[in-house]
Symmetry: C3
Subunit: 189 residues, 3 copies
């Protein structure tokens, strides 16, 4: 009778291990709304205006019929396309050592109010991070916070997906702005 | 002996519950080709042509050397870049109340026939939907249906992925066209 | 007593089957870093320079204030936007029969060195492949290999995700270049 009892106990233990194995495995997190990784960065955009070539990190490269490539267009810059290579910093100081570059393009896409759309990458190549994070999404920049998608990643950010929350941290006229980016990854590999 | 029997029965029940838990969990759907959510929308594009500023929802912002920014270029518009902020409606009527905005860009990218490539977002901010859906993909617009990718989402569409089928529902000269978009999400969170 | 023993044995077998079912199922591969599919392609870009319209597969459609649409701009082409419809081949020969088209855009996005950013699709419509693969990512083209993201797919490549490694296989002046693309899918459906 004893050995039977022992077998039953064995089964019970095996059960709990199995349940743990089934539900505590990485698969558990697949549809979790708890981020598997979080990061905060700032990036700094200085638009070329015909006079600041040395400091400029971005340039107007597309414009509507009523615009040009040195001044953002009337009608809330509707139709302007800007290409950028902006320094990424860990704090909100433009002069902090950059930890990477934000590279890609944004467009202004509405006549009536300021709103933009972004497609870009964070590119890292330092001892702390190597690899890239790719983003795309609408940026209705009059809102305090705006969510865009993390659509992929490489290197340290291999195959990641998630959501990045953008906040305009500062802007000076139409030449400089600084974005805070709170990245939440929900798929990590 | 009885209690032993009862334990065995208990085990059996636990087994079936465990099996159910393992295989009927959300994870089961991860590689399913049955959509977890489906939606149909229309969006309406009115290209600025130098005379329709008030009604225009899009503008030519890039052109090849042989083009300009008020008329779509020769050679199947190859090289034209268009930025848009188009109303989204639930039916095929331009004058129906918009439920959101389609914002982003498309390009014409072939000399020999009409074909385009799109990157844009659906932006919703109403009582029925809040959030955004991000799309990218090739749009060989002479085909009756074309599939592009849902590459991410935010808000109500948090972390979604899927496939959207585009159909040209109507077009009038080179100023207006209407697309029907059948969205099928295969990853819902 | 015998039947009890048999039940126990039955349980043991069921256990192992269950464990197998739980861990050897397709879900196991979800976070695997072993590709579920691999492909290698080449694509060929011939930029329009004012004289090669017939052979050109791409055109400059955006430029900074100091540039134009027939010659890539000074300062490492910073600000140039190029739209392309490039033939895809299975080997490195421009004259091999194309198996599809690479369609989308790239931008040059840095003043100090050559670096670009890409968003495009591979479009297939042959007996061997039907469907599309969508890509986005930074392309620091002075590096021997660069990783970008596979952000989605349709048709034969339904819902795929992965990483594509780009290598500059050849370039001739500023008119022709050929990229080798090693695609590794980590999500297959």
């Amino acid at each position: 009778m004893r050995s039977k009892h022992q077998i039953s106990t064995l089964f019970l233990i095996a059960f709990f291990l199995l349940i743990l194995g089934c539900f505590a495995s990485p698969r558990k997190n697949i549809r979790s709304r708890r981020p598997c990784k979080e990061m905060v960065f700032y990036f700094h955009d200085i638009i070329y205006n015909g006079k600041n070539f040395k400091n400029a990190t971005s340039a107007i490269v597309g414009a509507p019929a009523w615009g040009n490539h040195t001044i953002l267009a009337n009608n809330n810059h509707f139709g302007n396309v800007v290409v950028f290579d902006d320094p990424i910093t860990l704090d909100n100081n433009l002069h902090s050592p950059p930890v990477g570059r934000a590279q890609g393009l944004y467009i202004y896409d509405k006549k009536e109010i300021f709103t933009s759309w972004l497609a870009f990458s964070f590119v890292f190549n330092s001892t702390s991070h190597k690899g890239s994070i790719n983003f795309a999404g609408a940026d209705p920049l009059m809102n305090k916070t705006r969510d865009i998608s993390v659509i992929g990643g490489t290197g340290d950010f291999f195959m990641t997906r998630g959501v990045a929350t953008l906040m305009t941290d500062a802007f000076e006229g139409e030449v400089y702005f600084r974005l805070r980016v709170d990245i939440k990854f929900y798929e990590c590999w």
